[in-house]
Structure formats: C-alpha cells, structure tokens
Amino acid sequence: MEISRDAYRAIEDIVGPEFITDDPAFLDSYAFEWLAELVRPNRSHYMPRPWAVVMPASTAEVQGVTRVCNKYGIKIKPISTGWYHWAAPMKDNDPTIQLDLRRMNRILDIDEKNRFAIVEPYVICAQLQAEVMKLGLNINIIGAGSSTSIVASACAYFGGGPNSYSMGNNSDNLLGQEWVTPAGEIIRTGSLSSGCGWFCSEGPGPSVRGITRGVLGSRGGLGTYTKCAIKLNHWPGQKVLEPKGPPPGYRLEIPENFRVYTIGAPDWDAWVNCYHAIYDNGIGYVFHRQFNLAGADLAAALWLTYIDPKKTLNDVETASKDPAIQKVAEEGRISFQLILAGNSMESIKLQDKVLDAILAQTGCYKVARFCEPDMAEFTNMYMQRLGHKHCNFIWVGGYMGSWMQAGTPDYVRNYIPTAIKGFERDQKSHLLVECGGDATMGCGSTIGGGGYFGLEQFVSYDPNDNDSIDACIKHMEDAIKDAISVGVPAGKEALYLQIGWSDERIWDALSKIPQQFILNFQTKIKDAFDPNYLGDRNYQWIPPGWGQKADAK
C-alpha cells in the first residue's frame, strides 16, 4: 500500500525532504528488530514496515507531523534509540509513520542546585551520566544499559536498573515531561504546566504521569514524549571516568571510598536473607545480579575470558573445563554484584563492617576471584556505566528474557526453582545455549529504594537457525505454563509474545484478566487523548464490552 502522496508532501513540508523517506531498504532497516523472529510469520526478522520514516527536529515539528497523521488517518510510532520489536509498527497494512527522534538529541539543562536535568529523547544515559558526573551527580542507568534513551525509560517504560536500589527507577525519577498526544496537543505535566519549572512531576498542575504511563509505560503507543526532566543523585566518585586497558574488558580504578564485590550465597534462602539485611541496613550504591546473564554454569568461564583481550569465545569452552574456574563457578552460582560508595572514609569503613557482619550472619561470602583487582575493576566499570549490557547477546546474537515477575525477595525465591528447572528441561533439546538452568539476573530493585525486585532468565538462541528460534518460542510457551503452575502470573516472555498477536487475540486475553476497571479506565484515556486511534496497543485498552458476548454464550 502506498502512502498518500499528499500526506507525504505535507510531512515533507514540515521536516524538510532530507528528513523523510519511504525507500524500501531504509524502511526495512527500521522494520528489522530484535525479537521479531519470535513473533512474526515464518520467523521473519522484520516487523511490519513503516510507511515512511520521519525525523522531526523539535516539539513543534512532532506536533505538525502528528496533526497531518490525524488528518490522513496514519498511525504514529515514535522511537528514540529504537530497540525491541515493540519499537516498530505492529500491524501489516496499517499505515504507520515511524517517528525517529534522533535529531532531538540535546541536554537542555542541568540544574545542579536542584538536581535535575532536562533532556530530549535521543540523549542516552551514558551521555548524561558523563556530563553530570563532572558535577558530582549521577543518574540511574536502566538495566538495558547506557545506550538507551532517558526519555524512553522515564516516560514510556518503567526504567529500573542497578542504581535503582539507591536512586529509584526512572519512572520515579521523572520530574516533568512534555508530551505530544496522539491528537496533536502538547501537554506539560506537573509543575512545568504551571510555569514553575521542571522540579515536580505531581503538581501544581495536572499530574498525567500515571495516565500516560500505566504500569509498564506506553512504549510508543500513546503519542510522543519530546522532553523530560530527570532527577539526579549524589555521586561520590571520579568526575570523569578514565577506563584502563584495551577493549573489551575496560577497567575502572576503584576509589578509596568505594568497594566493589561479587557476593556469593550457599543457597537461595541465604541470598534472600542477605538481600534483606543489606536493604534493612541501608548500605550499598549499586545492587545487581549481572554476571549470571551468561548462566551459572558458564559465567565464571565467560567473564574471566572476556577480561583477557587476546581471548575469544573458543577459549570459554576450554575455561569451562578448567577445575579452578569450575570452582569459581560453584562459588558464584548464587551471587550478585554489590558496590558500596561512601561519602567519607568513615562511611565506607562502616559500610564494609556492616557488610562483613551481614555475611557472617547469613553465611554469604565474597567470591574471591571476582573480587581480585582485575575482575573488581572490570565489575566497577561494567556496573557504573553499564556499557557492556549487550553482552546479553554475546553467545550467538539472540537473547530473550523469560520470567522477571517482580515482588519481595521471598516471592522471587519461591519461583526461582521452577524457573531453573524449566530452563534446564528446555536446554535438553540442545537448541538453546546450554549454560545451566539458572541464567537469572536482574536489578536489585524494581521500585525505587529497594526491597522489591525480579529475576529474568536469560535465554540465548540462534536467530540464524530456525530450529533454535522454534526452541526459544517453545521455551516461552513453557515458561508461561510453568509460572501458572506455581501460581505466578506470566512473565516477560508473555509480554514479548503478545507483540505478535492480533488485536482480537489481545482483547480476548485482556477481557479475562481481573481488575477490568484498569482497562476501562485506560480505554477512556485512549478515547480522550487518541480519538483517531493512531497509537498502538502497547498502551493497553479494550473495546467497551469486548468478551462479554462470548462469555454470555
């Protein structure tokens, strides 16, 4: 289906001819997305092609393009850095403009005194972090890493990361946003809408943060966020990070007021007790279960290979058979990374003492090899900048996260054995990377301030091998059943799979969930802000009465 030339020209007039394209190869570069092959017919790596890609440079241009879309009934899908299958248009033959916001890439203000920064959508976490660290401040970098957009994680997703433990999620840290609704209105939230600046997300003025976000965030399904203010936090470390060594395993010196540890636990109960005790005692700057993304059987072999620039994946195989490394693997089987930061030497010494007491009390311990200077400095670099996050894909280029249901540590401990057993079972096909049943990892917090988190199984599959893709899909289906079998709702795998469903199938599923009032509420929001239904179902809603007739039959 060809885009209306009138609509094309109208958009071209707004952004200029060099910032719109409908060249098929260019469109394909946007349709090609991570995870697509798990949900698209014939395991295609392409989501539906957008009708055109448009690159606005300002809020006014976003608004102009949105109004044209309303006039011509073209759907809108904004992206910032543009990662995930849900970043692409979701339906074939449904004319959709992909708004690529990469020209909106400025840090507009860093308010050092009031500790917030105002950024446009294409500012990534690493850029802002580098700038604010110079002022002794820091940001929460989300679990997906520092190549991600701050606006996307704060306004349109939940934005949890290793720093959330001490800094909160980016959805919590959102202090104001500028939103071009699908109808083309510009709405500014909180104090900003009263002309009082960006300091408060909840007023004076309308607080539409909850409206636009839902639980998870609208993920491009409800208009375009063009600016946001994000809270900044204290940073007692180096003003400029100066990594050492050749790639890929850069190392960051550990200042005397910091400690970088990998903590191991003898069992999951001890792990949970240790988490509680660390949280209760208010120590810690970064809390993350990171390295286990490689799988508990292989994590030690992978990371000890990774930090040697002369080695490659072949060496991981050799390392995994080395008894010394196998011993490290056992020590770190149930582990997490913890960084302590002190505002003074007294503070860091005290935190260290408290940690030692917690370890003694819970039976947990420091994983010695991972606390040696080379690995500790690598861990410090990795966790402070999260610049290696796409090691998620290191084994073969395909990774999918299952589980990740968030809750208290005890809640998570209860589903972990099932998650491990299920993954072990599915690896027996040899069609997924065999890294041990436990490849669970996750942030120390999924609500600001800790005490609550989830663990995600890192399932690696080969996107260039249809059998492996099928095995991953099967694992996703299995994981849903496994979760239900232990009374836990389906996890991230369900969220991923749903991207490939038809509207009707989604609505059928949604009509069966409890708390229908949420969907009714969101439907009203949709009607109010998106009267022409130009956003997609990443913002969830349900047609009034859907499913009721079927139930009546």
Binding site: T21, W34, Q127, P309, N314, H390, W395, H430, N464
Partner: protein
C-alpha cells in the same frame, strides 16, 4: 567472498546500535560521544553499520532494490571501523566492517557505481595513482636524495611514499625526512620511484576489488624482483593495505613497518636523539588505518562451530580484530621524546578515535561529508587547547588542512615526521 557470507552476521545483529557510539565506557562528554560519522551526517538508521547489515539482507532477499538512496547510504561511510570496535565490545565475532566492504563490492560488481568516483578510478587505471597525476612524476619527490632505485637495484627494504606524499606538495617533507632518517640509520633500502604503484587500498575501500587486486599483484611482483622483504611507509592508508589486505594473496610474506614504528625503535635503541626543542602543545590523531585497523593480520581458514549447544565460535579459533592491539603507542612515544613538546589527548583517542573523514572514498565521493567529518575532529582538537593536530597519515592531514583552510579554526596540521624534522 560473497555478500552471502555475511548473512549470518546480519541475521544475528541485535539492532543494539552500539555501532553508532564510541565504546560507552569511554564516553566523557555529550559533545564527543559519537563514534560514527556516517550516522551523524546521514541520520537514518541505514547510515549505520547495523543499518547496512539490514540493507545487505534486504537486497539479498529481494525485499528491496538498489536505489540512489541505497547507494548513498552504502557509500557515504568512511570505513573507519569505529562501529566495528564498539560492536565487538559485546559481540565477539560480528564483522560489520567486513560486511560493509562486501556490500560495496556487491554494488560495484552489479554496476551500481557512483559517477563522481568513476574519474578517480579511471585515473588510477591510467596513471596508477589516486590523484590522477602523471605517473611519470611519481618519483620527483625523491630527486637529489641519492636513493637506490629498486627497478634497477636490489634491497631488503623498500620505502613506499604512497600516492598522497608523492604528489601533494602541501604536505611538506615527510617522505624526504623519512628517507634521510633511513639513510642515517644505515638501512639498506630503496624506492620504486616512478614505478611505484598505488597500493590499491583506496580503490578497495571504494568497492573496486578488481582494481585493488591488479595494483596488489603488480606491487608484489615488483617487490619480489627487487628482493624486498620489508616495506616501510609513512602513509597509514598504505600501511593498512600492505599489512591487512595484501597477506591473503598467496606468497605475500612482506613485513610491514610504519615510519613511526621505525622511529620508535630507533629511539628505543638509542640510535636517534632529538636535539632541538619544539615548544608546542599538540594533540595526536590516531589514523583509523594505523590505530584500530592496524592490527596484525592472522591467516585463518575455518568454519563456524557451535559450542554449548548454540553458542557460536570458530574452528580453528578465528582471529578477532577489535582495535585492542593497533599501533597507538609508537607515535605517542616519538612525540613525547621531542624536547619541549607537550602532548595532550583528545577525548576520543586510540580505538575510539573519530575519523578524519578521508577514508572509504568519502573524500572523493562526498566532499561535504568528508569535510564535515574532519571539521568535527578539528573542533575536538581545539577543545584540548592544542596548537596543532598531528597525524601519521597524509590523507588525514590533507583533510584537516582543507577543513581548517577557511580560517574558522586556527589549528596547525602536522605529520609526526614534520615535527621530528624540526627536532633533529
């Protein structure tokens, strides 16, 4: 190799877009955080390494065709390799840079060439150089230097000036200074003079593989006849060509040395001493072809194998070029040995250096893009407070001279050899 060879890489690209940035750990500011000139200038995802992998896939699968826009996106790239370094931070074995080169070969083989590049390639075929200058003048730079001509004599070492140093008079005396230093060091060397060929590396980058092979074969035969075992060059473009692109040709076991490596060795052995101070603050620009792409070639012939069920590695293990072992320290040691000279670093240095803009045929095909890329580097150099930007490649220097020519930025441009000459 056919484009099909890179299908697996394309299918396994995680669309993470790391390839657009410097390695994230190395980011020190918003201003100098970008790694890829192409995406910064072209904007659409197709102007990135990841985007080009999709273009390759889309073309192979007949989902799209080669349009003018596709050609623009394929060729408007410096082949600087920044993307390759950043991709390999997390993706051990992806080869986006090689895939992008192959995509160019594919387009050129199918006749999808750029009209503005054709005259340059015609000039190469006719005059055997990339500047379209009369080939008879190629050896003029060495007049009165009393150097062996290896067309008539034999020597173990050949000094290869390269097209740019042979013909671009603005670049000063880097080639002549090199020759004088080699003479003082007592090296048994010669030059090919008028018979020196273009190395073919730039044609390779432009997608003209056949032209590259002709130049390579001709050069290797000439060297073989002259008994050459080692080539020394002050040009990083030629250096990379000899070091990385020649070896796959059978029978090529020539040792390749850049002049900065040779100088570094002389300094290390105490055979060279700088006597005159050069009181100047300079910043060093790592040429892509000497730095991240200057790693040793390792022959490999193998196939993919899977370990742990589905993890991909290679049998035998495949060499990994990720910029870890490029030539970064020798030029810095040489500069630091010059009395009075202060070396300051740009934010993006070594494997994370921003390109000068001359590579991949961009200088010839897209002067505006090329000049913008160079201007960005000049801005970065100025931000260090340096009075001069120093490089070890005439192509970088030519681009920097052009970018500073308008006088907007007052920054001197030097080759390492020019500063060495001042210090001798």
């Amino acid at each position: 190799m056919a484009l099909e060879t890179y299908r697996a890489d394309a299918m396994r690209c995680s669309r993470c877009a790391y390839c657009k940035w410097v390695p994230l750990d190395l980011m020190k500011s918003w201003r100098f955080s970008k790694g890829c000139p192409s995406i910064e200038f072209g904007h659409f995802h197709s102007y990135s390494a990841g985007g080009r992998l999709v273009t390759a896939l889309s073309l192979m699968d007949g989902r799209s065709e080669v349009t003018e826009k596709v050609k623009d996106s394929v060729f408007k790239c410096n082949l600087c390799g920044s993307c390759d370094v950043t991709c390999k931070m997390c993706r051990y074995d992806m080869e986006p840079l090689e895939a992008m080169k192959e995509l160019r070969f594919h387009l050129v083989e199918q006749g999808h060439t750029l009209p503005q590049v054709e005259p340059v390639i015609d000039g190469l075929r006719r005059e055997l150089n990339m500047l379209g200058k009369p080939r008879a003048e190629r050896g003029d730079w060495a007049a009165k230097l009393n150097v062996k001509n290896l067309v008539k004599e034999q020597a173990e070492f050949v000094f290869h000036a390269g097209c740019r140093y042979s013909f671009d008079g603005d670049l000063g005396d880097a080639a002549r200074t090199s020759v004088r230093i080699l003479q003082q060091a007592g090296v048994d060397f010669g030059i090919m003079g008028e018979a020196e060929n273009c190395c073919g590396g730039r044609a390779y980058g432009m997608g003209y593989k056949a032209e590259f092979e002709t130049r390579r074969d001709s050069t290797l035969i000439a060297w073989q006849r002259a008994g050459v075992k080692t080539v020394i060059t002050p040009c990083s473009d030629c250096y990379h060509t000899f070091k990385r692109l020649y070896p796959p040709a059978s029978g090529c076991d020539i040792k390749v040395v850049h002049m900065v490596e040779f100088l570094d060795q002389l300094l290390g052995e105490g055979k060279l001493k700088f006597t005159k101070p050069v009181p100047m603050t300079v910043t060093y620009h790592d040429p892509c072809h000497l730095g991240r792409q200057g790693e040793e070639y390792v022959a490999w012939n193998g196939k993919e194998k899977k370990i742990f069920g589905q993890a991909v590695c290679y049998d035998p293990p495949r060499p990994r070029y990720n910029g870890a072992f490029g030539i970064y320290d020798p030029p810095r040691r040489v500069l630091q040995a010059i009395p009075g000279l202060k070396l300051v670093e740009m934010e993006r240095n070594r494997e994370a250096a921003w390109c000068c803009g001359a590579g991949g045929g961009a200088r010839e095909a897209y002067p505006e893009f090329s000049n913008w890329t160079a201007s960005e580097r000049i801005e970065e150099a100025c931000s260090t407070g340096a009075e001069a930007i120093v490089s070890a490649c005439p192509w970088c220097e030519r681009n920097f001279l052009d970018a500073t020519a308008g006088g907007k930025r007052k920054l001197a441009v030097y080759d390492v050899m020019q500063l060495v000459e001042k210090a001798l």
